[in-house]
Subunit: 153 residues, 2 copies
Amino acid sequence: MLDSQPDAAADALIRGAGLRVTATRVAVLDALRARPHATADDVFDRIVGSLPGTSKQSVYNALGDFADAGLARRIEPAGHAGTFELRVGDNHHHVVCTRCGRIDDVDCVVGSAPCLHVPEGSGYLIETAEVTFWGVCSDCRAESEAEKPRGSR
Amino acid sequence: MLDSQPDAAADALIRGAGLRVTATRVAVLDALRARPHATADDVFDRIVGSLPGTSKQSVYNALGDFADAGLARRIEPAGHAGTFELRVGDNHHHVVCTRCGRIDDVDCVVGSAPCLHVPEGSGYLIETAEVTFWGVCSDCRAESEAEKPRGSR
DNA sequence: TGTCATTTTTGATTCACTCAAAACTAGCTA
DNA sequence: TAGCTAGTTTTGAGTGAATCAAAAATGACA
């Protein structure tokens, strides 16, 4: 945990993406590893402690650069801030909790490309398909159970 | 087309949803019929002409009320402003043009609930599934063809 | 070690939207 | 048909998320 051990893995990842290795970027990458679905704010909050003086703008920059470089993916569930994840390159989708906003991954159920073929004649040349599930996570379910413990409904 | 003909259909729809019938709401409903995927701004722009003095806030109110009443649905493709449509109650999805932002409906391909079952053990109680396709619409394709007419690949 | 393009910082600005109080009005009731 | 009142609209301020741009700092190469 000494800062003389500069996290070779992060280093290689960033450099491999064609980006310069900077303290901000390494920290942002770490934050994304610690929290696989994080907003710019989440990342910033996690970083300021260890890297005082970092600006939110830098976090936006780093996240944007990662996304451009294909190192991270940006998703944006309706009503939520843009959220970043490091898991890229595979076809997976997301579940969003309608109560607490928590996001989790959902592996693609039906092979690599599920029922996601657009009917012919749409005129569109489809590039990607995105599936978002909305529901209530187990924590929030447990919580609402606890609130009405009467055998009610 | 006389304004003494107050659009009985819109009237009934709004009233039927338990909302008071007002000029703003009728106009907003009309705008949504004319443009099946419209943002608050789109609606406002279309309305101000015939209903000067209308505020954008009123449009937000009307659209929000429609959505709450189940008269309209709000969708929000990543990077786009909230968009409203009157087509509700059926399971359909959307294609968004990555060039011009145009949105079109996509009928649900595989019956009423496609491959949209989340793997067991996710812990989530799923309420809805949302599919968004991203691609290039025919207009934008035609346009980019026109730009590089050389048989250039 | 110096150089220079890439990054970060700082600060202003935008956009989509929400909040809240005051003014207005649809539609029920007497 | 006038009056009442809850539901709407208006006005204006305020928010969060994100972008833009210019100046200062720094990584990585020669």
